[in-house]
Point group: C2
Chain length 585, copies 2
Amino acid sequence: MYLERIDGPQDVKALDRAQRVELAREMRAALIEKLSAHGGHFGPNLGMVEATIALHVVFDSPRDKMVFDVSHQTYAHKMLTGRKQAFLSSDAYDDVTGYSAPQESAHDFFTIGHTSTSISLACGMAKARDLVGGKENIVAIIGDGSLSGGEAMEGLDYAAELRGNLIVVVNDNDMSIAENHGGLYENLRALRESGGKCENNLFRAFGLDYVFVADGNDIDALIQAFERVKDTDHPTVVHICTQKGKGYAPAERDKERWHYCAPFDRETGKPRFAQSGEDYGELTAQWLLDKMQTDPRVVAITSGTPGVFGFDKDKRDRAGAQFVDVGIAEEHAVAMASGIATNGGKPVYGVYSTFLQRAYDQLAQDVCINGSPVTILVYAASVYGMNDVTHLGIFDIPMISNIPGLVYLAPTCKEQYLSMLHWAIDQNEHPVAIRVPADGVVASGQSESTDWGQLNRYRVVRRGGKVAILALGSFFGLGMRVAQALERQTGVAPTLIDPIYITGTDTKLLDALTSDHDIVVTLEDGVIDGGFGEKIARYYGAHPTMRVLNYGLRKQFLDRYDVEQVLRDNRLTPRQIVQDVLALN
Amino acid sequence: MYLERIDGPQDVKALDRAQRVELAREMRAALIEKLSAHGGHFGPNLGMVEATIALHVVFDSPRDKMVFDVSHQTYAHKMLTGRKQAFLSSDAYDDVTGYSAPQESAHDFFTIGHTSTSISLACGMAKARDLVGGKENIVAIIGDGSLSGGEAMEGLDYAAELRGNLIVVVNDNDMSIAENHGGLYENLRALRESGGKCENNLFRAFGLDYVFVADGNDIDALIQAFERVKDTDHPTVVHICTQKGKGYAPAERDKERWHYCAPFDRETGKPRFAQSGEDYGELTAQWLLDKMQTDPRVVAITSGTPGVFGFDKDKRDRAGAQFVDVGIAEEHAVAMASGIATNGGKPVYGVYSTFLQRAYDQLAQDVCINGSPVTILVYAASVYGMNDVTHLGIFDIPMISNIPGLVYLAPTCKEQYLSMLHWAIDQNEHPVAIRVPADGVVASGQSESTDWGQLNRYRVVRRGGKVAILALGSFFGLGMRVAQALERQTGVAPTLIDPIYITGTDTKLLDALTSDHDIVVTLEDGVIDGGFGEKIARYYGAHPTMRVLNYGLRKQFLDRYDVEQVLRDNRLTPRQIVQDVLALN
């Protein structure tokens, strides 16, 4: 087996043509083996095997520097740069992250997980090289799906200005996570169909040189192309056409489903662990489809992740013109939503907490300053969300809840959530975001008929005394457990409050609490700095007797963590919280 | 005079060819008259007079909907849509804002002040129109400078996907605020030089139809082009070439200086009010130029606003390759800075607080997760900053200080500032942002030799008792006045603290204060929600006796405000603060 003998790029360079082809076969087999047991990004990595081999044959990593966009396609790169064991030995599967990781290897330069950044990062490396008189090649590797992100196009635009050596490998597999959307993909198609020779080459329009490789899974053709641009003195795009999911038939057929995989059976392609129970994504898509039937103004928007709110291919087809995928373009999505609302439409944007970060300014300017009645559904905003450092969903409360004009709601159960969604779409007064719970669907069984437009009215779920617990959104369950434990230990039931409104303070209720409470506990499922609880602490700051304990996550980047451990480290277990409360007495 | 008789677009339509030319002359004269007395965006508006007339002749506003990018070029549009008095009568000059404003007129649809959003907003309006079966034209008007923003390119990319009517007027005056930067401007140049017929048309590469107008100050040619695309059934770019500053010789010659003007003498072009005293921008550029001489790794970066940190044309030339203008592309600027730092450079990015909003994700992901030692200088981050609702600088503390890993510093004087800048560039440990004071340069006269890398050590400027005042950054002067007033009234000097570190809590000092203080006052020059003071309130939340008063601005959008009034409204005068403190006793 060749792969077992690869300790670094020098060992790849030493192989002959036939051996490289065999190496690719072995790598693909190892990928399928590991991913079927472990899960991970499937299609993007299977497509990049040959290109990664060719890159390491031609360039001299880490002297030459490769920056992988999103970096979820770096498994092959990791195999060839001293980390093969993490793909060959099941004991070592978790020794590497799913993204490029400087702490693992000198061949990785950035921790990356969001799309469309690689060209800008590479431009910076090239600029620094030129300032100090270096000579290395700087290579950005970016998928076609990532090109629709504005930052990628800013990078393409700026690259020409750099003038010096910069190589942008465009890995065109004709797919984003789902199908691509946007005019540039017609240009990529025309380039593919014309062998790179069509009119109006987008990359040349940005002032870049351009090389076309028809078969991006042909190692020899790739080596030839890379040799041609190596040590070039000007920025050049190498457009390679690869097959996403290559080498595993189910993934070649259904590219969207196989972008990412949970552990699966290799024979059948079926997931090993059946998902069970309700899911907020599916609930949302179904509810929206029903709503669309009666209201042609309702339009669901995604920026490249339709699955986040349950819009699989079938549901997208059923929604028709009432479903919009703008491609990976969060800024455009949010501004477009404002435009839709301004002209009488009812936009609903479904987005992961971590990707909403890309549209802060559009949310503040285009939506909130304009008071556009846009509905934004924020998913995986929780310690229970994605746990890679680049995909954390714990920063959205400080990020967006301090923007004036936004109504940010934290439902605690499915009934509240759907009622809020209904209200948000039908009203015309406020931009509304809803923090969709991320720790499974909880049904209260109680119908909701609240007018959520009566802003900032917290709900007293149970009136008690001495201690009041403000348990926000997905931490409401934690609040209930704390309340029960406190009552057990002290014999006095605390007051339990569902605050609902992340963006507002119910001053009347907070004032009323002072009459028979002397401790307020706040719980929120996110970073505590700049969040909900601190506003309560501020409100009571000058009060002579009320004491406030804020609970949430410390301000820090977590990575591939165990949730229970993180909760303990942040004193977020019922037992710890009760301890702290009792210590105040 | 024709202009006096224009109450709306119907009156423009009624004019004949010669009368329209005369109208343009009158409009230009009125613009020069008003702006020489009042100040405002000069070059962009003088260039757009003819195009605005032609738009209102051909399209049927407000049924047809125009969205102006940045909207600082809408003065002519305002003149023709019922707001002429604000340009003819000095008493009425302030009746209109400097940007499009739905509250002023049914012909304006959005409050806009940041660039690159118009195509996305227009796409949304077109989408809503198509959902409800409308037939109106949707027209985005965007300057060439705004095209380099990623959001604009996301919009261009998505427009093709819309298929229906959408007209994008690209107003190409071959300038951003300063000169343009990026490969796309070579394409615009080639289009201009070839009469719109060059190879690799960028707009066609995005899948859009394209019409070229060589003289965008020729009303007849513009009318002809707009007639051609009116009611089109597919997205079309109309590329018009205009002259920025047309009709005022000094502005035609020096386009950068005349992008925006303060009141000036019409004969000489000289400002009426001389700027006096030091300026943090100029101080910064001068200091950086000196630093660059001894360190070739230092590189100053701007995203289209070199003036923010004092880099006029002369200083840019002196910096040479050590100055980078990426065009209006904040995302790229921040990611590129991370790339520079990773490859051994020393990037310093100067940016307005309001525009840093566009790079939240890059700051979090590319810089902070990666721990890249990037220096970011945040300007006009203050109630004393720009006062249009779209340009407020009061949101940066909640926005960026809650991102892990960032060291955000608040200097109180020039000596601290330059010492921090020096440290930030030389160190390799932290991403550092510095909140440059915005209310004039204060010199302490004391040399600074602090090691700012000893993080989160607040500075006790004067040790007193009972009350401690934590006065952050540009509100340190306010803190001094509060301290003096308190001492006068109570006979007891309070403790005055310069917290310096926005992003950290000096728990040792805060604990020590509890021994002989029972009130802590925090002061910060920005929105209080999610800010610095709330962290202090949280820290003392469970303390039995310490009481905390947080001062800052309420979470709200302000617009064209009087600073003193806003300070009073937020109880930010020394007298009000002292009142509040005394009321606690």
